[in-house]
Assembly symmetry: C2
Homo-oligomer: 307 residues x 2
């Protein structure tokens, strides 16, 4: 089942209470495609990088059956760069530098070989660019998942709402759900947001887990309580990659299967935060993933409680 992923491929420079990095590879499409690659082959990436991008990372992507045919390389320009610092609680951060560079006028190109893909993951990007990708696919995918963030709610709300009408699943965090809906209660927020277009809504709550909504149904997936969160960068994208990757591998877009997909996304995200950047996502084994998924299942497992 083919999966196309759209999003940034970038350099990040990170500071956490545990240390700091020079420029390391980051970006939504990077995390999503690596995470999805543990479930489905190929993963087709649409993105744009500068001549400065890390060729070893491109090689790693190819080794993991991630196609970069749709990754434009602008030799004389620089890749998107983001620098941020996390505070002690690891739940809040400040942006130190944002250099759009090649992302500033990103015009996504869909290679012919990507056409006909069954699953589309729109990583965080300008909503107009996300919409363009949907429009440039000659056949509508079986499932379109969109991730976005408060930044676009602040500066491009109308475009965001237009794009939301075209997708099946929206993935945002709890604060973004509140901002987008104007409702504090996440149950009320979810109803309002689903009325804007997406039939399914995922609300990510970081260390507090994730909620999946569809009609009147709610599923809750916990986050795994961890001894150390080393670097939260990319956790949301890694979640999205595991989610869509699992769905693409099964071809099943039922609510029941999406529940399993949320668990798999959560499991992959729990690996992501254990090391800086993409480090932990480069060579996971199937055994590690299965064991981690089982930990999530066990965490909430309880024998029948109603007598």
């Amino acid at each position: 089942m083919s999966l196309t992923v759209v999003g940034s491929m970038a350099f990040d420079a990170l500071e956490t209470p545990f240390g700091k990095t020079d420029k390391i590879v980051g970006g939504a499409a990077t995390y999503i495609s690596l995470s999805a690659s543990y479930f489905v082959k190929p993963v087709n990436v649409v993105s744009v990088v500068g001549g400065d991008f890390d060729q070893d990372h491109i090689k790693l992507m190819h080794e993991r059956n991630i196609s970069t045919e749709g990754v434009q390389v602008k030799e004389n320009e620089k890749s998107f760069f983001w620098s941020g610092r996390y505070f002690n609680d690891m739940n809040s951060r400040e942006t130190l530098v944002t250099e759009l560079n090649v992302l500033g006028d990103f015009d996504p190109i869909i290679p012919a070989s990507y056409q006909g893909c069954e699953f589309l993951m729109l990583g965080n990007l300008a909503p107009q660019v996300q919409k363009t990708v949907i429009e440039r696919l000659t056949r509508r995918p079986k499932l379109v998942v969109m991730d976005t963030m408060n930044f676009w709610m602040d500066i491009a709300l109308e475009e965001l709402k237009e794009t939301m009408k075209l997708v099946d699943v929206l993935s945002i965090n709890d604060e973004e759900a509140r901002q987008l809906s104007g409702e504090y209660s996440l149950v009320k927020a979810a109803k309002k947001i689903m009325a804007m277009g997406p039939k399914f809504l995922i609300i990510k709550k970081g260390e507090h887990g994730a909620l999946l909504f569809n009609e009147d149904k709610i599923f809750f997936a916990p986050a795994l309580p961890l001894e150390e969160v080393f670097d939260p960068t990319g956790a949301g994208d890694t979640f999205a990659g595991g989610f869509i990757g699992y769905i693409a591998s099964t071809g099943d877009i039922s609510f029941e299967n999406m529940k399993r997909a949320v668990i798999h996304g959560s499991a992959l995200a729990s690996f992501c935060v254990e090391k800086f950047g993409t480090e932990r996502l480069k060579n996971l084994s199937q055994e590690e993933i299965d064991a981690r998924v089982q930990q999530f299942v066990n965490l909430v497992a309880v024998d029948t409680v109603v007598q």
Copy 2:
């Protein structure tokens, strides 16, 4: 299986975004005993009130098989009074008034009929008073559960640590776990706190659920996503009452059964927040409770995910 509950019986005056109350009945022992009364009979309360306390509430307690033989009445004094205001997010509040009154020199008396109780719930009180109750029981209960709060960590940390050594289960919220342990990670915090005495630790995370720790085992119970949280007052005590009430009704203090108890405590707490004060806890039906518990089970239910 007999249960003894120690804690305040008080008047609260509450302001929430949905309205405000005059003085209504509150206090840890009030919520704990009402909640536990849905599972076990009798519930024996040790507390102290002034001559101003609400006699209708005492009658309600008796109707629910809650014994007030251990509730001292100081006719010429006033009951403990607390007044607080919740902010819009309902997760934070400010204290407007605290009048200790009869609670200032509370010297708990254990009636002979309470002696030999198998389960003891120490609601939030000065740790020295909690310790006195344990010492005045002629036989150590099968399980002692202690609830406390940051206030005592600020002003009576050594007494708190002494009392903690004598209990089996400690129940605190996430911020209190961090304060008590000096660790941000709740997994690390739990290890440190269990090394201080309690074999089991419950960390309450409010709208984000609750964690139960024992040795290397972790169980997570979600909170039910609610459309409305009307008044969070007493939710933690109601949780504790459902937890210990369920355990007392089954007589089973295994980790597996404590998991079920956490779900029952969470279910009772989810009723509590639906109305002001104790209103919603006065006449729940078994069908309502069973259905709510089932909602908690369904919320995280997922078919086997590891293939």
